[in-house]
């Protein structure tokens, strides 16, 4: 059905379509609309789920872990400080190989107190063993949330997936939304190590160095296999519903000499900057990274690259810029922009490209060329 909705409502609508057995959540700006809407679905009977309003985000993830280990499909949503408050349990979910799906509405970390978009919240969870994907439109938020359940629960993966959307810019923006009858696109969950009272087993017990090491290797193997599962899921989604996104979305990329790389809504706005630059005779293109984990294999050889990081690792650099440089020899201009919801327009992005200084880092808006 075609309607108009916010990014938050799109996530809630997708969750309703896949019918998690348990949803545990705690409200936090700018995510609250997701769990409010789901609570309404449950109250009205549109969604037959157990909704557990908990006393904190740590408890939200703990409740999801407890439910998931029984083999139940589970969902939660959070943002910023809420995500960091559940950090211990975020690690636990991945380590226990539980295919929980979580929406995280990206928001800066305080102090100073700030409720606007920044990716550093989710980036602080990037080494936990969760798959992470970043979306840029209301429709993509819906489609990706559907796909997240199938990817997380796939027998070759069995890892949690975090769907990220920019606070306010996407969470509170209204755009058109085509809600789907997903049918059997997301098959029932079969958790191989679900609690079975007829076959008792130990969970979360002390593991020695050798077993621990083996468990970590199993996570990495699953993460590597997830690339194929993501591709298969995207292909099947495209066949059934006619839309696909890829691990990174290319725009006028094929013949581009200079490529803008960004994530989330900035990645979409960059497409408008590319059109501006093309009109000026600059052979620009853009690449919007969607999957942060597993990190995509990108071939940037022979192109100049301008990376916009809406995040930062202090004393190190923009996290996407550094990640790209670690994987390939590329001369890139690192732009730090949009932290805490800083306004960044397509004109600004075109300016980054026009005035690029490869090998340096720019802190946008503070005369910060270093």
């Amino acid at each position: 059905m075609l309607t108009i909705a916010t990014g938050n409502k799109a996530v809630a609508a997708a969750v309703k379509e896949v019918k998690p057995y348990v949803i545990a959540a705690y409200p936090i700006t700018p995510q609250t609309e997701i769990v409010e809407q789901i609570a309404e679905y449950v109250t009205s009977g549109e969604l037959d789920s157990r909704y557990i309003p908990v006393e904190s985000e740590h408890s939200a993830m703990a409740a999801c872990i407890g439910a998931s280990i029984t083999g139940a499909r589970t969902f939660t949503a959070t943002s910023s400080h809420g995500l960091l408050y559940m950090h211990e349990m975020v690690n636990w979910a991945a380590g226990a190989r539980l295919p929980i799906v979580m929406a995280n509405v990206n928001r800066a970390i305080g102090p100073g107190w700030n409720v606007w978009a920044e990716h550093t919240d989710a980036f602080q969870e990037r080494d936990t063993g969760w798959l992470q994907v970043y979306v840029s439109t209301v429709q993509e938020a819906y489609d990706t949330t559907l796909m997240a359940f199938r990817i997380a629960e796939h027998a070759d993966v069995i890892l949690p997936v975090m769907v990220n959307l920019d606070g306010f810019l996407l969470s509170h923006s209204m755009q058109s939304l085509d809600t789907l009858n997903a049918g059997d696109f997301v098959p029932p969950l079969h958790l191989p190590h679900a609690i079975d009272v007829l076959n008792p087993a130990g969970y979360g017990t002390l593991t020695g160095p050798d077993e621990h090491f083996r468990f970590r290797w199993e996570i990495e193997k699953a993460m590597r296999r997830s690339r194929k599962v993501i591709a298969e899921t995207e292909r099947d989604f495209a066949e059934r519903f006619g839309r696909s996104y890829g691990v990174a979305e290319e725009y006028r990329y094929e013949d581009a000499d200079v490529v803008v790389i960004a994530m989330g809504t900035l990645g979409k706005e960059a497409e408008v900057a590319v059109d501006l630059l093309r009109n000026e005779g600059v052979n620009a293109g853009s690449l919007r990274i969607r999957w942060l984990r597993p990190f995509p294999d990108l071939d940037l050889s022979g192109r100049e690259v301008v990376v916009i990081d809406r995040d930062y690792s202090f004393g190190f650099g923009g996290i996407i810029a550094q990640s790209l440089m670690a994987r390939q020899r590329v001369d890139l201009y690192s732009v730090i922009a949009g932290l805490g919801g800083q306004e960044v327009t397509y004109d600004d992005i075109a300016g980054f490209v026009r005035e690029r200084r490869p090998g340096t880092e720019l802190w946008f808006g503070v005369n910060g060329n270093v």
Binding site: I4, D166, M174, S176, K268
Partner: protein, 175 residues
Amino acid sequence: MYEIRIHSRGGQGGVTAARLLALAAFRDGKYATACPFYGAERRGAPVVSYVRIDDRPIRVYSQIRNPDLVIVLDPSVMEVVDVLHGLKRHGKVLMNGTTTEKIHGAPAFAVDLTGIALREKLVIAGSPILNTPVLGALAKMGIISVDSAKSAIREMFSDERNVRAAEAAFQELVI
């Protein structure tokens, strides 16, 4: 792309006006986005919301700098905000009120949305509801169709007084 900036005060329904307008434009078969700007402001503080309408998918999320249309739901914000800032050369202004005399240098239209809301007893927590009648004025200006304005209001509100208020604004606005 047609870009609209709505000025109001927190609690007056400017955000809902943006959402209703985007929904109506969408029902007209256009692409539309409503991007409220959420600042640190709270009830009573001047706020802005944005609506973009286009025939093609909209990829812009940043704030509108050069609007085609400025809507002033609460003229008292003009004491503290330059509502004409960045208005395009042939841009227009729609004012809630009985006069446009404070607007200089741009075609301006006035309709007494507050009066209409009070007549229809559309008041919540002491504030007259402006966001449904304003849709009628926008239909009169040709930005959305009358049918889509009504269907957008009915999709979001069950109270028919909202539709009647929009019809009154449509009739009262002189173009």
